[in-house]
Amino acid sequence: MSDPGPGFRRLHPASLVFRFFDALQTFFVPALLVWLWADADHAWEVWLGALFVPVVVAHVLHYVTFRYAMHDEDLVVRHGIIVRRERHIPYARIENVDLLRNPVHRMLGVAIVRLDTAAGDDAEAQFKVLSMPAVTELLEAIRDRASGGAARGAASCLETLEDAPAGHAQDDVVLRASLRDLIVIGIVSHRGLVALAAFVGVLSRFDVTEKLLEDSVLRPLVKRWVASSSETASFAQIALLASIVIVALFALSIAWTIFRYHGYRLEASDGLLRWSAGAWTERRATIPVARIQRLTVRRTLLHRLLGLANLRIETAGARDDEERAGRGDFVPLCRWTDVERLVAISMPDAKLPSSYEAVDPAAHSRATRLSLIMSLVGGALAFPLVGFVGSASLTVALVPLFLVRARRMTRFLGLAVTEDCLWVRRGAFHLAWIAVPIAKIQTIAVAMSPFDQRWDMAKLVVDVAGASSSDLLTVPYLSHAVAIRHYERLGRDSAAIELTW
């Protein structure tokens, strides 16, 4: 590589190790599947492992070619060998600075730094990994030259490097999660079900189970159980197996949650939220309150039974994927009584509305009619599979379910415009309250389908930055006049406010 010029720095050599493990991680699940599914006489699958080589080469090349420099006006990042990409990130555009360190990083004295700008789904720049002096230098450059949230984010990252993690400003802590809380989150979120498919897949291939249990203590037990059940599987045995599976799933879910949210802490100071959690990699995020585009409070049936709730937020330019910590799982769990306080912290303009404007009085009849049609269609679709008696009983079973859903949905659906914020509540069994500051509204629309026109209704649609389109904020079943009134008012009010990210 030719020298790119003065002031350019490279990544820490340990990057190679971490990148190798990244590559390995991507290949781990496919490799496991190949190993489980391959027969001894079909060894060709092993050759798929050759795909691993280009991935590793790409990672090595990234490390070798990666250079960055801190100029006065912008941060320059370049990499690539055939297509050389050089990116200039003006300090003023940096929205968010994240610092990630897991125990291995700590041991080697390195860290990952991620920078985001408002544009794009991906991190604008990721430095994986830098030595601690390089991290300090980079963060200081951002702190001194960037403005607003990014500067404060960098400053707070620098603070955590100096202080012992436990000694950090206790007054700012808004919420933390005890072990008991984590267990409850594990139970309520039942993530263990995700593992069910894999579990069933493995079980269905008994030879695999056999292979796995070859030398384990469980082997005689399983043998005996299988031998006895092959004659007559008693009801008790099936019940036992089912309950073991369920308990195992919940245990898995709890373990996953504890691992992921260990040491969960949310701090607020100076219009800045600091979020951190994680047993292995401590995931941290610094979120300026002013950048929050949308806030959602959610309650499933279980949440309501236990008096709990869950909060998520959306910011511009960040999707809630695994890497983007602190948005989708902003508040994984809190008491219902804490919601008002947490909303006040994360969206100061959003006072909880005292009442919601209901949808059209005819909404219930319309939803009921739709439910009946849906039950009939559901039954009819099942006809080729289950015959007349089956599809008839399916229809009969679906009708009450759909009717209850329609009733609850139309009763709960509503919207409220508080001082500076639009609130929408919706849901039948899983309830959600969504807040969007009027200042963050991008586009307002009303949609009228032929059915809406027949019932003299309309659907209000509000678009904000950062919302995934599958999750667009819509309020159906509004009276036509009401929808138009809100459409015009929100249009005027949002036009009156200059957009600030």
């Binding site: 009228m448 678009d463 904000v464 995934s468 009156a496 406010i497």
Partner: protein
């Protein structure tokens, strides 16, 4: 069926509605006819060309199905001719002090408002078809997701440029309605 979108009772006549340029109708007719011809050509190949040249045989070649396909082809062609004037009557746009508002849709109707302060940038483009008829397409980009770009195709070129200038050139805030401050 009530015909709501044709009344303008809900807002005071602060700004007048503009239709698209009338030249959009022939332009759209030609564009849709070209589309229809491509589809019919494909259909004809599947129904007659393929079986004749390569000896294909499949269920779709049953005589009654062939009739159905031919009817379908005729329908596309008729629609290409009849639909544009209907659609034309149901597209209107106006510039208000808020920003730009577009109402469109014959059966599924949508009114959409983009406040001027939310316009990130605008594009005026002309495809070969639009250019032949002296028309242009203006695309308004916002920072949103579902409505990140809102296009209005079929207005006269000069008007498109004027609209573009109006959307990005002026001061972006208007007087608040209800004593709201920033």
């Amino acid at each position: 069926m009530t015909d709501r979108s044709d009344q303008e009772s809900t807002t005071p006549a602060e700004a007048t509605w503009s239709p698209l340029d009338p030249a959009w109708i022939p332009c759209e007719r030609v564009a849709r006819t070209i589309d229809a011809i491509v589809w019919i050509g494909l259909l004809a190949f599947l129904l007659f060309g393929g079986p004749e040249l390569f000896g294909w045989h499949y269920l779709g070649l049953e005589p009654w199905l062939r009739v159905l396909w031919i009817v379908f082809g005729c329908l596309i062609l008729t629609r290409a001719w009849l639909w544009p004037p209907v659609a034309y009557r149901h597209i209107r746009w106006r510039q208000t002090e808020v920003g730009i508002e577009i109402r469109r849709g014959v059966f599924w109707r949508r009114w959409i408002t983009v406040p001027r302060s939310r316009v990130q940038h605008t594009d005026v483009s002309e495809g070969p078809m639009l250019r032949r008829y002296g028309l242009a397409r203006i695309t308004v980009y916002t920072a949103g997701t579902e409505f990140a770009e809102i296009a209005l195709a079929g207005i006269e070129q000069g008007q498109a440029f004027a609209l573009r200038d109006a959307l990005i050139g002026r001061p972006t805030t208007i007087a608040p309605e209800s004593g709201r401050t920033e």
